[in-house]
Symmetry: C2
Subunit: 338 residues, 2 copies
Amino acid sequence: MDDRKLEVLRAIVEDYVSTQEPVGSKAVAQRHALGVSAATIRNDMAFLEEAGYIHQPHTSAGRIPTDKGYRLFVDRLGKIKPLSAAERRAVHRFLAEAIDLDDVVTRTVRLLSQLTHQVAVVQYPSLNRSAVRHLELVALAPARVMLVMITDTGRVEQRQLELPAELAEDDVLELRRLINEQLQGKPLADAPRIIADLAELARPELRASASALARVLLETVVSRTDERVAVAGAANLTRHTAYFAGSLRSILEALEEEVVLMQLLGRADSGPMLTVRIGDENGIDDFRETAVVTAGYGPGAVVGHMGVLGPTRMDYPGTIAAVRAVARYVSEILEQNR
Amino acid sequence: MDDRKLEVLRAIVEDYVSTQEPVGSKAVAQRHALGVSAATIRNDMAFLEEAGYIHQPHTSAGRIPTDKGYRLFVDRLGKIKPLSAAERRAVHRFLAEAIDLDDVVTRTVRLLSQLTHQVAVVQYPSLNRSAVRHLELVALAPARVMLVMITDTGRVEQRQLELPAELAEDDVLELRRLINEQLQGKPLADAPRIIADLAELARPELRASASALARVLLETVVSRTDERVAVAGAANLTRHTAYFAGSLRSILEALEEEVVLMQLLGRADSGPMLTVRIGDENGIDDFRETAVVTAGYGPGAVVGHMGVLGPTRMDYPGTIAAVRAVARYVSEILEQNR
DNA sequence: GACTGGCACTCCGAGACCGGGAGTGCCAGA
DNA sequence: TCTGGCACTCCCGGTCTCGGAGTGCCAGTC
């Protein structure tokens, strides 16, 4: 494929994204200095359409990029637009002020949605990629304790549980020591095995309580709570009047469904740091007109994902730059707090 | 005002809510057996319009209730439609399965939005109406601890803090004993006074650490974290095609602004258990076409509010019944867990 | 005096119609 | 291989028309 044809494709994508209207050969000829006439561009356009990169809503209308066109643009044509120095500073400062993980996540998700003017989604550090930093048992009543788990990624999960027997203060301390001895520093992915044997290590009198504890621990580790997600900027969906006509409803619904969100964020967990999924590539019917830009983050290894979603007609270079920058800063912050 | 005129108003409200179209005299005459002709109803309508309860979008159109009309309907005409026995059972069962406060809140907000087909909002139990049940200090590193506060309403707040000096294990225990002695059982509203004197009660060597602790405690008590809110069912906004034309955007934005949400929920904290605010009564420009139905909940005393928001053209009797029922069940559950 | 049927009137909304403009494809010539 | 020209297509916005729904008013009835 010709170099100039690629330039024409880029011009179409860029103009369409900024004007939101089909772009014609004349517009391309005069807004982009390609050094050829509109007629020539028309020929190139015919070629691009034949090849499936653009398409015409109807005869005698301008052209619109197809998913395939966007894909090519993202892979080979989009020059990432780095954030301005001022933006970088602002991002850094805003994130550095966070006082704990919850705060980091809420700030991140807001930041992303403001920078990109899209809907932002941030997954909390995945439990099964975290390790136990500390377990605490708090006696609330003679036969009722609260189990608090703190991970090396800063997540704090807590659960209350009823014990089968009343425990003395010393007993609680002993159980606390036991679970910490066994689990501290261990990756949660390995936890189920360890937990399975937990009860047997306790003194006979404490076995029943220990196994109740073990059960709750297991639930906490593998349970529904596992994947938490924060969302912000839903209002930005209304920016893109045309595109959401039918799907706004279902997208809003999807944003409240953790399952769907995880599907969008998590698909490409390994591999390159940054992923773009365009339209049908999402594999979800309601997201056929939606593009998702995600990046992994974490101190060293990836512990979670964050991303942005919006119409396929989005500013890819800008969005990619923003997601990448924010993911990087967040990773740094987690690194420092480790 | 005539009895029949009230009946006409009710008919207009009910029909308008269900059809979403201006309702004319003829429709009222035949759908509701008022025993009079359309012409008579026209006269009543003229009266109701004069009095400001209904209005005409344009000459020769049917009538639409005004805010004042809805207000009268809610205050005097709407017979609450209690939930069906099946619904009540389902609500009860669903809520009873909750394992902790977070779970109660998320379940509640989902339930409300599903029952009413509107946007539901639930405020977490307000900290300054809760009392301290327990404070726990967890040593994470020699000079770093995590402070966990558990309230009698089941809320768990945690914060990490850096201490000015390294502490021995015993010192941590002593501080823990100290803050519990001082605060356990005390309402958080009284906490600031108590905390102010906290440092002085500690051994001289621990003073610095104690006052760092005190500062964090204060922040936690009065801070931004104070009012947390859960939202669900935003997708329901798209049901009401016409009404959100302009305001959908700003409503979605408002749903992410805790300040606005609290304003909507909290206005009438004392007084009757259930409040309805219609249109302008909300005092927020973007909510001029929105009605809010809220109820306080809590074990005995009110500790928080929950509610539902939707277009002024909503099914008030049904919504009121749902909100009231759910608030009641949630209160029961909190009572049991106390 | 309250209610009713009849009637003229208003006004919205859907559909039909039309013209301008933007964009195209193709072709002949440079 | 590129370009200017040209005929063609089709959307879009505006205007117009017409039917229908709903009203207000009035004269007549109980």
